[in-house]
Amino acid sequence: MRDTQIPREALPWLLAAQAGSLVLHISHLPLWMWLLAAAVAGWRWLIHTGRVAYPGRRLKALAVVAASAGVILTFWRSFALESATAFLVAAALLKLLEMRYRRDGYVVVFLSCFVLAVGFLFHQDILAGLYGLLCVWLLMSALLALHRHFSSARQAKRSVQRQAGTILLVSLPLMLVLYFLFPRLSPLWGFNLHSGEARTGLSETMAPGDIARLGQSDELAFRVTFTDGRIPPRQELYWRALVLDQYDGRQWKPFAPPAAIDWYRAAPAAVTDDRSLYAYEIIQEPTGKRWLFALRGVSAAEAGTGVTDQGMLVSRRPVHNRIRYRAQSWPATPLQAEGLTAVGQRLALSLPRSVNPQSRAFAAQLRQEHSSDEDFIQTLLSYFRDNAFYYTLKPDVLGSNDIDEFLFSSRRGFCAHYAGALVFLARSAGIPARVVAGYQGGEWNAEEGYLTVRQYDAHAWAEVWLAGQGWVRVDPTAAVAPERIEYGLEQAVADEGSFLEDQVFSAQKLKGINWLNRLRLEFDSLNYYWQRWVLAYDGERQKGFLSGVLGLKDYKTGLVLLGSSFFVFFLLASVVLWWKSRPPAQSPFMRAWRLLQQRGARAGVVAMGSDTPSVYLQRLAEQQPLIRDELLQLRQDINQLLYQHEDAQRLAGLVRRLRRLAKRIK
């Protein structure tokens, strides 16, 4: 194969396409990678303008070694998606330095395609999708520009960017067909690619300040739609994620992984008219953990999910990708009302010995006054309500006996402080209690009918076990700051002005301006539909779509449909192409002339490609002595009318003569 130089006008396209493919990686590539990108692209541009030469073999080897070392050092001991991506990007960038011929251009374009696709592992929202389309257009333009040749004048009539746009538009139907019908082979593609990126979200341990930190993040946690149309009141929206039943004097954490899990078994969903049942569907952002979010009294309704003995919804595998699952809850169901096991009882009462003596004493004193468990808890709540406790996103830093300090001196705290203190006091008084972490509330999008729960909705509350009632939710935060539960965090800390104060550009801050808020909600619902219909379209939903919308029984028919739509597409394309390049309609004169030539050919006078009318008629006249004179006269007339005095009308008059003569050829 002869090496073809890269056309000069292709280089800007190639550089732009490669730069474009990197944008989705902004969030995780190290800074030096950007310097490398700038240096390499700059160098290649200087080669283009003729100021420097291609780097030598030794320099290239050095660059490869240095880049590899850079990747290894940057991601030392944390091999994950980011490090692999960084290595790929470094390799793609260095390829620019030896991009000499057209085939190198191909490599760069294909690498950029791959880099772009890898970017979707990190960003999947609708903006990333649109941006991806833009990049595909850039890449397509680069590919077309690579094929420009200075002599191909026909191509030059159309600019590459327009041509690329046309190609993408034309292939749109094919893309949709592939999207809907191409088999989604989840076992092969569904790697749980582990990302080393630190995620904002609940963690397995809870120190008092943790959830307050979450309060500063407006990242999406999950979205909920209520599939039955019954929506619980806002103060009932306690999304349980995990139970923290062990206290080490500082942190709350789960005692052990859940022992018994009741996995979902595919069973026909009982059609129920139960007014207390809430059926819902959740699209959850990746957490890297196994817990899922659900209301109280949950039962699993999706393969791969199950319910623990503590009444929590969990997933079989850690959630590394965005997932979508159904669940249903009867919030009124009592939890373990029949009684606690001995182990459970001991666990729900255990406390480290030496910490928070003041609180223990306080609990003991209250206990003497209130023998009933319920009374005791109510007293605690009124204690929080009646004393000058303050709900804040900026709690004071507490010392080693943090609950003592919190209860009796600082009295400033976030939900975790209140929940922790209440559970501590309850346990001190011999009442089984535990902390539950999750989210509370969310933003209801009334127009589209779904609930958006963000990280700042993170919440912690308490559950106490009461004889005959089982585990009962007790939320001390509701006693201190009822507006937190009624209206959400923003209202609760409105006086303090600390809501998302670190995030200057957060869209959540636009709530005050009416039309901007509408815009924000519109965009949010757009993203919601994107997640619901595009990102969550997996093999299961494809099956549902095939059978539900298209009425297909099995995959085989789906494949046949896929194949036939390809066939139809290419058939249509070829018909269009043929139509555009079909020969122009012939004039009556030309049809008559063709007829004459056909008859002549039958008589042995075949028209050569180079025959002019007069040459052909001359030959024909010599071979047809009977009509020789007419043919020679015709020859003279045609020459006159076609070439000497153009006269369309008289030329049309020749048609009949031509036909008549054609018939007389023997």
């Binding site: 004048a153 026909r154 490609g609 180079s610 025959d611 002019t612 076609l642 070439y643 153009e646």
Partner: protein, 308 residues
């Protein structure tokens, strides 16, 4: 046919025997105001033809024999310092080179180095030469008739495409047929006959003929045919480069001149285009692949329909 043209043709045919076709092409080329390149082996009558053409058209002509050590100054002229008699003072005086003429015979143009070739080719394109910063117009009309040996011969510098493009036509003479050869052997010295030719045209008559060529009518059908040919060379024929717009104009002008010279017609026939096609396009088109048995122009003729 105009009497002047037929007189010129008769005179030329007396000198160059059995080459009516080539003579008509050469005359058409000059009437279309184009430069002519004659390519053939040594001794085929190239120089005689060019001598005869200049003589019969009544034009002043000069001749340069191109050699590998020819310098641009040998073609264009040079300024020489001349001292006034008896004094120290003096001034530079320009001695015009052989290029300052109406017909320039550039014999064996591919023997000279590209430097010398380009000096001439500039003059062909611009109709003027710039020497030592001063632009000097050339006499009108200005024709270059260049001859060259086929490039396969050793010791030649083939003209690049851009320079070949400046020649309106390239013709080949070929061996004479036996009858013409016998006449040649029996007859007088052809070179002497060429030098002794009487001018048949005045400069005014020549200009008038050139004007007539321009007025030859090209009908839509002929222009369609011509454009089909151009399109074929660009998109289908498998040539490295198609005909440029200048090539298309060259084809049109040559065909018009041919219509006048060959038939004395004032309108174009497709036959005229076909007649000049080989002379006009063969040297402009390089074939990407081996074209087979047919020449470039023959392939075009066979592939492009005259009427569509």
């Amino acid at each position: 046919m105009s009497p002047a043209v037929s007189r010129v043709l008769r005179q030329l045919n007396d000198v160059i025997l059995g080459k009516e076709e080539q003579i008509k092409l050469a005359l058409s080329c000059l009437l279309a105001r184009g430069h002519l390149l004659i390519e053939d082996l040594p001794g085929m009558g190239k120089t005689t033809l060019s001598h005869a053409l200049a003589g019969v058209l009544g034009l002043e002509y000069k001749r340069i024999q191109f050699t590998s050590d020819l310098l641009p100054a040998d073609i264009l002229g040079v300024s020489i310092f001349e001292r006034e008699a008896g004094t120290e003072a003096g001034r530079f005086r320009f001695h015009p080179g052989p290029v300052f003429t109406q017909v320039l015979l550039a014999d064996e143009i591919n023997r000279a180095t590209p430097k010398a070739q380009s000096a001439l080719l500039e003059a062909m394109e611009e109709g003027q030469v710039t020497i030592e910063g001063e632009t000097r117009p050339l006499p009108q009309p200005f024709f270059v008739i260049a001859t060259q040996n086929p490039v396969s011969q050793s010791g030649t510098f083939p003209l690049p495409e851009s320079q070949l493009d400046r020649f309106l036509m390239r013709i080949q003479l070929g061996y004479p047929d036996p009858q013409a050869e016998r006449e040649l052997l029996e007859g007088k010295d052809r070179r002497a006959m060429a030098s002794a030719l009487q001018a048949e045209l005045s400069n005014e008559e020549l200009a008038q003929l050139q004007q007539q060529v321009k007025q030859v009518k090209a009908s839509a059908s002929v222009l369609d045919y011509l454009q089909r040919i151009i399109a074929f060379t660009r998109y289908e024929g498998g040539y490295q480069y198609g005909l440029s717009p200048r090539g298309a104009l060259a084809l049109l002008h040559s065909a018009k001149a041919w219509a006048l010279v060959d038939g004395g017609r004032e309108y174009l026939l497709p036959e005229d285009v076909q007649a000049v096609l080989a002379a006009v396009v063969d040297h402009r088109l390089a074939e990407a692949a081996d074209g087979g048995a047919h020449s470039v122009s023959q392939r075009i003729l066979n592939a492009v329909p005259v009427l569509l």
